[in-house]
């Protein structure tokens, strides 16, 4: 597998609000961080795969590649996709095909530049008919929770526990983010705060159930196996890749209580990696909301449909940050997830990879997870575009151990 793609360095900015910074400044910072982490320089790059979801809208930037070329004085091929995972997938395909040996994958988003209109943009792009009928970026999550509760007939005490489990997801993610210097919200919250926010919003989900609007950038350097072997002591390999697609119009989907695209992507990735999802110890999932984190775990095959909330609640009763799975701990969103780390769409996937990369290398500092046999060997990143309209699963592993 000479052409198996491997990540040799990662970099990112802190996520949050960058009032005074141009989007290019953010990607520059992320790229420099990655570049400093290895001995790859600009001139070594054979191509760039970038992602941003909304720059043409938020910053009226079209042809972002041109800006990057000016910034870097590079004239190599550059491509832009909407999500970091999509950029990574495309980059991996090029490496696998043997077209390139070393490429940059990066993502940027500058959502706060359009603070006043961003919710309209997000909803209109995610699901136009729902937007026309009055839907908000939050409403599909709330409807999915209703669909889930009804489909699995969760009532009474069980429904209370489910609601509590969702609150605990937010609390767990904030606790994780408190150890992450790059996170947008590096503070702990309590279950009471989550519940109070829901009460204040008069809804099943409140402020603390949703990921924020963020600015940020992330980058990684991807090489083929031989380059990786040459210049890195501990490359992290891409073991599995998968992507899936679903309808734009959420109400028209067959099953409203799960994300088929995520299931499809995970199946493809785990087949390619020859790993069953339950053998993976660390997951970064796309928690645009606490509901999404819960349901994703079922879509990935970690829990039976309709049961994830039980294990989430059980796990978080006994530990600050792990769910239980057949007695073994399951680590999800150790960086704080989209909820607390932040969700600058095009850069989000890069931060998820960044986290798993460090977890597998054993360099995740305070957040480092350790099982009986040491740091985890494989991890998985799941990223969405839209409300589950597109899903990407990427399985990473340290083959040196």
């Amino acid at each position: 597998m000479q052409n198996q793609p491997a990540i040799i360095a990662v970099g990112r900015t802190k996520f949050g609000e960058y009032y005074g910074k141009e989007p290019e400044k953010l990607i520059e910072e992320a790229w420099l961080a990655a570049s400093n982490d290895c001995c790859i320089e600009r001139k070594d790059l054979e191509a760039c795969y970038m992602s941003d979801c909304l720059l043409p809208i938020t910053n009226k930037l079209g042809l972002e590649e041109g800006f990057l070329s000016e910034l870097t004085e590079l004239h190599v091929p550059m491509e832009v996709t909407r999500s970091f995972s999509a950029a990574l997938l495309t980059a991996c395909h090029a490496i696998q095909a043997g077209v390139y040996g070393t490429v940059l994958v990066g993502g940027i988003e500058k959502m706060t530049d359009r603070w006043d209109k961003i919710r309209d943009d997000l909803m209109l792009l995610d699901d136009p008919w729902s937007y026309f009928a009055g839907g908000t970026p939050e409403s599909n999550h709330e409807l999915m929770l209703r669909a889930y509760i009804k489909k699995h007939n969760i009532t009474g005490q069980n429904q209370d526990t489910l609601n509590l489990a969702l609150a605990e997801i937010a609390v767990k993610n904030h606790a994780n983010a408190s150890k992450n210097n790059y996170a947008q919200y590096q503070r702990k919250i309590t279950v009471e705060q989550v519940l109070a926010a829901r009460k204040q919003s008069h809804k099943s989900l409140g402020l603390y159930d949703f990921a924020p609007i963020s600015d940020g950038a992330s980058a990684l350097i991807l090489t083929n196996e031989s380059v990786a072997k040459e210049i890195s002591d501990q490359p992290i390999h891409i073991l599995g890749l998968g992507a899936g697609t679903d309808f734009l119009n959420y109400p028209a989907r067959e099953d409203l209580s799960r994300f088929i695209a995520a299931e499809y992507a995970m199946n493809t990735a785990s087949k390619m990696a020859n790993i069953t999802p339950s053998d993976l110890q660390v997951f970064e999932v796309n928690d645009q909301s606490t509901v999404m984190e819960m349901i994703s775990l079922e879509d990935l095959g970690l829990y039976r449909p309709g049961t994830a909330w039980k294990s989430i609640h059980e796990g978080l009763q006994n530990s600050e940050n792990t769910y239980t799975k057949k007695g073994t701990p399951l680590y999800v969103n150790t960086d704080g997830g989209l909820k607390a780390d932040g969700n600058p769409l095009g850069a989000t996937g890069g931060a998820q990879i960044f986290e798993v990369f460090h977890q597998l290398r054993g360099t995740a500092d305070e957040r480092q997870i350790k099982n009986a046999d040491g740091v985890p060997k494989q991890g998985c990143v799941v990223e969405f575009e839209g409300f589950g309209t597109k899903a990407y699963a990427t399985i990473l592993g340290d083959k040196t151990r």
Binding site: K117, G134, P137, E142, A147, K203
Partner: protein
Amino acid sequence: MSSEPIERRVSYLGDRLKACRCQCCGKEYFEVRDYCSICGRKSYGKMASIDLFFDKGKFELATYINEPTNKFMKLSSFIYGIVSFHDGKIRVPARLTDQLLCDGQDVDISSFEGREVIPRFRRRYSVGKGDVIPTISLAFTLADEYYPHQEYKIVQPTKEYELPGIVGYGVYTSRFRIKERNMERAVPFIDEDSVTASVEAGKLALIHSGLDSSLVGKVYVGSESNPYAVKPIASKVAQVLKLGEEDDDIQGVDAVDTEFACKAGSSMFKDAAALVSYPRSNIKNAMVIGADNSQAAPRGCPGGELDTFVGYGAAAFLFGKLDVIAEVEGWYSCTSDTPDFWRRDGEPFPSHGGRFTGDPAYFKHVRKAASKLMEKSNLQASDINYFVPHQPNPTFPVRIAKELGFKDEQFSPSLVINKFGNTYSACSPAGLGSVLDIAEPDQRILMVSYGSGAGSDAYLLRTTSQILDKRKRQKINVKSQAENPFIEYVDYTTYRRLKLGM
């Protein structure tokens, strides 16, 4: 949406809720498709076009929105969710409309789930003052509340009449009212206007008539509150109600807006009747709608006196010669250049001549038209069963009716002013609707409209036996709307807010 082509495409599908069904596998889609995505090419040419406009759905999942996106800000909070049709074969996003929710209110979401809902044609969201006004029928109301579901069933006509007449009608007003002293006035919900009311009234008229909408060859809409200075309401009505033969995405119908203050609609009754009688016109049926979100300056401002009387509503009448419920026996019109009430272009609210709106204007013209028509037809007041005058306020119609020799029981059934307010172009037509709701066969009705500026049209109508047969089809009539247990009363501030719209 400032893109005109996108707006056209969204409203083309969304206003009528166009859908299709694969005739191979039965799968349904909310959109127009050339082939089924399951059956592939074998379904090409076998996609039956259906629509959900007259259908009812089920509110499957609900949530509460109290932080809407920018374009829905003026709604502040509402119930939103997913509605399914045909046992879940089609699911669409849905906003529950006609609900005034207070901010900070706890809402039991599950109480909305599982209930039957009816698509309603409404404004979609707020846009800039210069933009095309977006509309959609992904707004729904609960079928067990103010507006029940009614099936639109096409009935083959059985009898041709000698004279043209009314073959169906519908009176529409909103669920909201403002009540001051003894007077109740209809208040539009914030997503309603004269365009949406016109479509609603037309929909009711089609249901009542049982007429195939493709047989309507002309539609007139009279209004003085068209939200556009240039762009007809009638084109929207024609497209949404699919009037005339449909060919591609164009309706084979003539559609025109008319204007003459409050008689803009009723003035066209005779034109419609004449048109359907002209042998070479090939037009079998014509629809006339009077609709207004009656404008008035706020109280305390010049012209604000009107704000005590104005209402909201529309009335639609279908004319033809088959299965007539009331024949048009005759008419008389009169006009003089009397500027008693006007609104200059670009001004939001009308002005009026105060006391001169009475004797030299309303009374003079109504009196002239009524007495001339009675004289021409050789009839006394006692020969007429019902008198329907224009009703700008509660006193004028009573005074003129008495002066013309009509007794209380002859004119009071027509008085809708105390229920809906002065609905301008819909006012005397709604009064006529109120009388047609109760009239027996073979009764004479004298209706006299009035439009400032000024003129009157008097019509003499004679009911037929079919008025009783068709009455059963219409559950939504003047009485059901005036005495509906689900009417919601609002205060003056809310009334002004709702009336200004999205």
